[in-house]
């Protein structure tokens, strides 16, 4: 929703030190804690499971109560309908291009700026850094109209670049990479300097490779955020050929409530698959990246 939601998750590998190695009889308090976790997990997953199962039912049956968590007689019509009603291929391509370029662009610019704020000395460093950070506090709804006008001035109205370019400079990513570089031992750079390496060499061959896990975090979070982004595409794109997935999903709802709930939910399920894949593959880098940032 906002830039602030793009924030690094954290490592857990060291979360549970084996305090006692023997297998103890579960105490009432352990049972209570486990029950709490299970209930929380059920509340978290429940709506998702309902979404998947309802998306597999025909429109006429979609409101039947009690809800069926496991569809006994799955109906794929809603999914066929999704493909019939919106151009999934083009929407996915657009989303992939937009999120891909934003993610890569953010990784590059944030690595450079984060490194400068962490390791280079210059006048007004903390002032510039605070200025960058302060931009995180401004809701996108406030700046969207001027951004729109700037985009128009660049001749990029109603293009994917209109979505990509403004999203590449990242205050949050810069902040994250700064923290990350600060966490890396300063001695490495000093040693390189003594060996005669310039700032670029030091950055490119010493720090940047060590910071790859941190960059992965930025890439994954940028992907997650922009894959789901709704407001900017809504305002900045006009032609349907330039829509991203979330906008396409809205058109499944139809005008004046003539859409079908199963079809809408089928669209939701389809659109979350890529994010899910990135999340599954990204979980490890996320965790390792953060651990590395702390321990190295």
């Amino acid at each position: 929703m906002t830039t602030a939601t793009v924030t690094p998750p954290a490592p857990t590998t060291r979360a549970a030190p084996p305090r006692r190695s023997s297998r103890a009889v579960p105490t009432p308090s352990t049972v209570a804690r486990t029950a709490f976790l299970v209930v929380a997990a059920a509340l978290t997953l429940g709506p998702v499971i309902w979404t998947v199962s309802t998306s597999l039912r025909s429109p006429a049956e979609s409101f039947t109560l009690p809800p069926q968590l496991i569809p006994t007689d799955p109906d794929l019509t809603p999914y066929i309908q999704v493909f019939a009603q919106i151009n999934m291929g083009l929407l996915t391509l657009n989303s992939a291009l937009v999120t891909g370029f934003i993610a890569v662009g953010q990784m590059l610019t944030a690595a450079l700026a984060g490194y400068a704020f962490a390791r280079l000395e210059f006048r007004g460093r903390s002032l510039w850094f605070s200025l960058v950070l302060a931009t995180m506090m401004v809701p996108v709804q406030v700046t969207i109209v001027p951004v729109f006008m700037i985009i128009r001035g660049m001749g990029l109205s109603d293009t994917l670049l209109a979505l990509i370019l403004p999203a590449i400079p990242t205050a949050f990513g810069t902040f994250l990479m700064r923290q990350y570089f600060l966490g890396l031992p300063v001695e490495l750079g000093e040693a390189a300097s003594i060996d005669g390496a310039g700032p670029w060499r030091t950055f490119a061959s010493i720090y940047a490779p060590l910071a790859l896990p941190g960059l992965a975090i930025i890439g994954i979070l940028a992907f997650n955020f922009h894959w789901n982004e709704f407001f900017r595409p809504l305002i900045l794109t006009i032609s349907e050929q330039n829509f991203t997935l979330p906008l396409g999903l809205v058109s499944l709802q139809g005008n004046m409530g003539t859409g079908s709930i199963s079809v809408v939910l089928a669209g939701v399920v389809l659109s979350m698959i890529p994010a899910l894949v990135v999340f599954l593959f990204g979980q490890r880098p996320l965790r390792e990246g953060l651990t590395a940032g702390v321990s190295k």
């Binding site: 602030a4 690094p8 998750p9 954290a10 490592p11 979360a15 549970a16 084996p18 305090r19 804690r33 709490f36 976790l37 929380a40 978290t44 998702v48 979404t51 409101f63 109560l65 009690p66 809800p67 610019t109 450079l112 700026a113 400068a116 390791r119 280079l120 960058v132 302060a134 995180m136 506090m137 401004v138 809701p139 709804q141 969207i144 109209v145 001027p146 700037i150 370019l165 403004p166 400079p169 205050a171 923290q179 600060l182 750079g189 390189a192 300097s193 310039g198 997650n224 789901n228 709704f230 979330p246 709930i261 809408v264 939701v268 659109s271 979350m272 999340f279 979980q283 651990t291 702390v294």
Partner: protein, 314 residues
């Protein structure tokens, strides 16, 4: 993460972290510029510039199609006098307090619980589950929740009816709809602070706990006297992030209730959106935006002030 990195960071800064003896000053300046340029120029064009522009725009009346007309402070006077705007700001502040408190409490509790002894697969499972809602878009979540919380046909009321609670008008009564907005928001967002806390807990050295166990400290006392103080830097980051995010809430009320019933769930950003893109009053929308920006900065500054008293650095 960041919290854990902070102490090291301080040490590094104190020692003077910059690479020294890198040739003449102008060359160093060029190096710094090349590193910073993409971000600074980008933020300048696409964020700072628009911020300045919208501050200026707040002094104009403008509907996009005709030329802007200078109206001085009229927009600000109107905005301050408008009961809808006032209510939306109060709603936003109440929302921030309730939602952030709940989010922090839930995610902290779960992070502490998940760090107890359990099989690795179980920990991986819970961690993934609690993070999962974060990968969904707020718009999708709101669409889903709209069906679940429907008064007559929703699953939530059906479940409640099993325990004898009759049809709650979740989306159509002022109190209940505000509760739904908080629940839906926290449901989607808690995974983020949860992972922050999990990371923060992981950075607390095991020895500290072992030492305290020897001293006989257990359970609650350990939590209060060790975990929370050592977690306070993470807590600060989590709170600041959560508050900034909550102050900008838009998607959930926009899709779930459109701000209603009445103004019960209308938030500051919703009013900005409506003024600009429904009523075509871009100057007025900017004026509300300026007020909101000031509020966000004020609250953030306040948090950092308070943090000096409560945050404990190792």
């Amino acid at each position: 993460m960041t919290a854990a990195a902070l102490p090291t960071a301080r040490a590094a800064v104190d020692r003077g972290s910059g690479p020294r003896s890198q040739g003449p000053a102008w060359r160093r300046r060029v190096v710094v510029l090349t590193f910073l340029a993409p971000t600074i120029i980008g933020i300048g064009i696409f964020t700072l510039g628009p911020i300045v522009a919208s501050i200026l725009l707040a002094f104009f009346r403008w509907d996009i199609i005709t030329d802007p007309e200078f109206v001085g402070l009229t927009n600000f006077v109107d905005v301050v006098a408008d009961p809808t705007v006032r209510v939306s700001f109060i709603n936003t502040l109440v929302f921030v307090v309730v939602a952030v408190t709940l989010q922090i409490a839930v995610s902290l509790a779960l992070a502490v619980l998940i760090s107890q002894r359990m099989p690795t697969w179980a920990r991986t499972f819970f961690r993934s589950v609690f993070f999962f809602p974060l990968i969904l878009s707020a718009a999708s979540v709101s669409i889903i929740m709209r069906y679940l919380f429907n008064e007559e046909f929703g699953v939530v009321n059906w479940l409640l009816s099993l325990v004898g609670i009759g049809g709650v008008p979740w989306l159509t009564s002022p109190t209940a709809s505000a509760v739904v907005i908080v629940l839906v928001y926290v449901w989607q967002q808690f995974g983020f602070t949860f992972l922050l806390f999990v990371g923060g807990l992981a950075s607390i050295p095991t020895e500290v706990y072992e030492a305290s166990s020897i001293d006989g400290a257990t359970g609650w006392r350990q939590l209060r006297s060790i975990t929370l103080p050592l977690l306070s830097p993470t807590m600060l980051v989590a709170c600041v992030m959560a508050v900034i995010s909550a102050l900008q809430i838009f998607d959930q009320p926009y899709v779930l209730t459109r701000g209603g019933p009445g103004d019960a769930t209308r938030t500051a950003v919703m009013v900005i959106y409506e003024s600009a893109f429904r009523q075509l009053e871009f100057g007025r929308a900017s004026a509300i935006g300026v007020v909101l920006m000031l509020l966000i900065m004020g609250v953030t500054a306040l948090q950092f002030r308070l943090s000096r008293r409560f945050v404990f650095y190792q």
